[in-house]
C-alpha cells in the first residue's frame, strides 16, 4: 500500500514538474522529440484506430437494433451517449496504452538500466525535460486527436449501417444526430481524452524511469506496472469526468443527487 502511495505521489510530482517545464518544448532537441512522439503515438496509429472505430460503431448499432428493436432516434441517441461520450475516448486510451505506453515504459526502463539516463545527466540535461515533457504533451495531443477520429468513424459507420438495416435513411439519421448531439459531447470527450493521454504518459514515464531493479528483468515488471496502473487511472478519470460534467457516472448508477 505504501508502495502504491509512493508511486502515486511520484506521478503527481512528475505532473507538477511537467507543468512547470513546458517552455522547454521550445528547445530544438525537445521539440524534435515531441514531433517524433506525436508521429509514433498519433499519426502512425490512425489506420488501426479508424478500423477499430468502424467496428465498434457498427457493432454497437447492430446490437441496439437487434436487441432493442430501435428506431432511428434511439439508435442515434445511443450512438451519441455510448460512442461519443464514453467508448471513443476509452478506445483511444486503450490503444495508446497498449501501443505507445508499453513502448515508452520499455524504452525508458532500458535507457535507465543501460546508463543512458545517466548520460543525459552528464550532459547537464534533466532526463525529465528531454524524456518526459515531450512524451506527456505528445500523448495528450495524440489521444485527443485519436478520440476525434474514433468518434467520426464510429458514428459515421454506425449511422451508415443503421441506414441499411432499419427503416431510416442516412439523411434522416444524420438529421437526428445533429438535432440530438451537443457540442458539449464532443468537447467533453476531446478534453477528457487529453487528460487520459497525459495520465497514461505520466504513469508510463514514471515506471520507465523507476524500474524495480537494475537487471533486464525489471523491464517487463515496469511495463506490467505501467499498463495496469495507467488503465486503472484512465477508468478512474472517466468516472470523475462523468460525475463532474454530467452529474452521474456508470451510466446513471451513481448520480450527483446521491
Amino acid at each position: 500500500m505504501i508502495g502504491v502511495y509512493r508511486e502515486f505521489e511520484g506521478c503527481m510530482r512528475l505532473a507538477g514538474y511537467v507543468l512547470s517545464r513546458l517552455p522547454v518544448l521550445a528547445r530544438p532537441p525537445v521539440a524534435e522529440a515531441l514531433t517524433r512522439q506525436i508521429y509514433f503515438t498519433g499519426a502512425s496509429a490512425t489506420v488501426g484506430m479508424v478500423l477499430r472505430g468502424a467496428f465498434i460503431g457498427t457493432l454497437i448499432i447492430a446490437y441496439v437494433i437487434d436487441v432493442l428493436e430501435a428506431n432511428a432516434a434511439l439508435a442515434v441517441k445511443i450512438l451519441i451517449w455510448v460512442v461519443l461520450r464514453e467508448i471513443g475516448p476509452l478506445i483511444a486510451a486503450v490503444l495508446v496504452i497498449q501501443r505507445s505506453g508499453t513502448a515508452v515504459v520499455t524504452e525508458l526502463a532500458l535507457m535507465q538500466i543501460s546508463g543512458e539516463v545517466t548520460s543525459l545527466r552528464q550532459m547537464r540535461i534533466d532526463p525529465r525535460d528531454y524524456l518526459v515533457v515531450p512524451r506527456v504533451v505528445a500523448f495528450a495531443l495524440s489521444t485527443a486527436a485519436l478520440t476525434f477520429y474514433v468518434q467520426v468513424i464510429a458514428v459515421g459507420g454506425g449511422m451508415l449501417l443503421s441506414s441499411l438495416t432499419i427503416d431510416a435513411s442516412l439523411g434522416e439519421l444524420t438529421g437526428e444526430f445533429f438535432a440530438l448531439a451537443s457540442p458539449v459531447d464532443l468537447v467533453y470527450a476531446v478534453i477528457k481524452s487529453f487528460f487520459f493521454g497525459a495520465a497514461i504518459a505520466l504513469v508510463c514515464c514514471y515506471h520507465g524511469l523507476h524500474p524495480p531493479g537494475t537487471s533486464i528483468n525489471a523491464v517487463p515488471k515496469a511495463a506490467i506496472n505501467a499498463v495496469t496502473q495507467s488503465t486503472l487511472l484512465v477508468m478512474l478519470l472517466n468516472v470523475v469526468f462523468a460525475y463532474l460534467v454530467f452529474g452521474q457516472a456508470f451510466f446513471g448508477l451513481v448520480t450527483a443527487k446521491l
Binding site: 528547445r27 530544438p28 532537441p29 525537445v30 524534435e32 524504452e107 535507457m111 543501460s114 546508463g115 543512458e116 545517466t118 548520460s119 543525459l120 545527466r121 552528464q122 550532459m123 547537464r124 540535461i125 525535460d129 528531454y130
Partner: protein, 218 residues
C-alpha cells in the same frame, strides 16, 4: 598506485594546498587510504592508478559538484565546499565528462547525439557547428558522411568515443575528464584517440584535459 601529476603522502594536504590555479583537486580523507588528485589548470594530464571505486567517486563528485563528506574538491580554482546551488550549477557548466563508451543515446544517430547538448543549452549556436563537426571528425580519422548517419549500435567503440568526444568539444568545457580513452581500441584507433587532447586544447584554449585511468585489479 600513482596519481599524476600530484604526489600523495602528505598527512593533511588541505591545510597547505591552495585552490588557486588548480583545475581539479580531489582529496579524500586520509584514513581511507585513497589517492589524492591535484591537477593544475591548462594542458593535458593523466590521473592513473585510481581504483574503480575511487574513479566512480571522483567522477560523481565532479559531475554533481558535491564531494562525499570529509572530501575536499576543487574545480577550476574554486573550492566547492560552501558553494551555493547557483555557484555549483555555474561550475558544472564548465566541466564535462567523456565516459569510456562515449555515453551516447541509442535511439539517436551520431549527428543527433553530437548536437543534443548544444541544441539544449545553446540553440543559437546550432547553425554554426556543422563545419566544426566535419573538421573535428576528419582530423581524428573518421569520414563524417559515413559516421554521422550511424546509430550507436552500428558504431565501433572508437566511433562511439569519437562521437561523444566531438559532442563535448563543441560545448567548449574548461575541464574535460576523459575515461580510458585508449581502452578497447586497436593500434590505429589508439593513435587517433591519442590526438584527442591536442584537438581539445586547439578548440578550447586554456582548457584542461584529464585522462582518468583505472588501475588493473589483480
Amino acid at each position: 598506485m600513482k596519481v599524476e601529476p600530484a604526489a600523495r603522502g602528505e598527512a593533511d594536504p588541505r591545510s597547505r594546498a591552495s585552490a588557486q590555479g588548480v583545475a581539479l583537486g580531489y582529496e579524500p580523507p586520509a584514513d581511507l587510504g585513497e589517492s589524492r588528485v591535484w591537477i593544475s589548470i591548462g594542458g593535458s594530464h593523466r590521473a592513473a592508478g585510481l581504483s574503480d571505486s575511487q574513479r566512480k567517486k571522483l567522477v560523481s563528485a565532479v559531475l554533481e559538484v558535491r564531494p562525499e563528506s570529509n572530501t575536499r574538491l576543487v574545480l577550476l580554482g574554486v573550492e566547492v565546499d560552501g558553494l551555493r546551488s547557483e555557484g555549483r550549477a555555474s561550475l558544472r557548466d564548465r566541466v564535462a565528462f567523456l565516459p569510456v563508451d562515449g555515453g551516447l543515446l541509442s535511439n539517436l544517430n551520431a549527428w543527433e547525439n553530437i548536437v543534443l547538448p548544444l541544441g539544449f543549452h545553446h540553440p543559437e549556436r546550432l547553425g554554426e557547428v556543422a563545419a566544426a563537426v566535419n573538421s573535428l571528425l576528419r582530423g581524428l580519422g573518421a569520414d563524417p558522411h559515413v559516421l554521422l548517419e550511424k546509430l550507436p549500435e552500428r558504431m565501433s567503440l572508437y566511433e562511439k568515443k569519437l562521437t561523444g568526444y566531438v559532442r563535448i568539444v563543441l560545448e567548449r568545457p574548461e575541464l574535460l575528464l576523459a575515461e580510458e580513452t585508449q581502452r578497447g581500441l586497436d593500434s590505429a584507433e589508439r593513435a587517433a584517440a591519442s590526438r584527442f587532447p591536442a584537438a581539445y586544447l586547439e578548440n578550447c584554449p586554456g582548457g584542461t584535459f584529464v585522462h582518468l585511468e583505472v588501475a588493473l585489479e589483480r
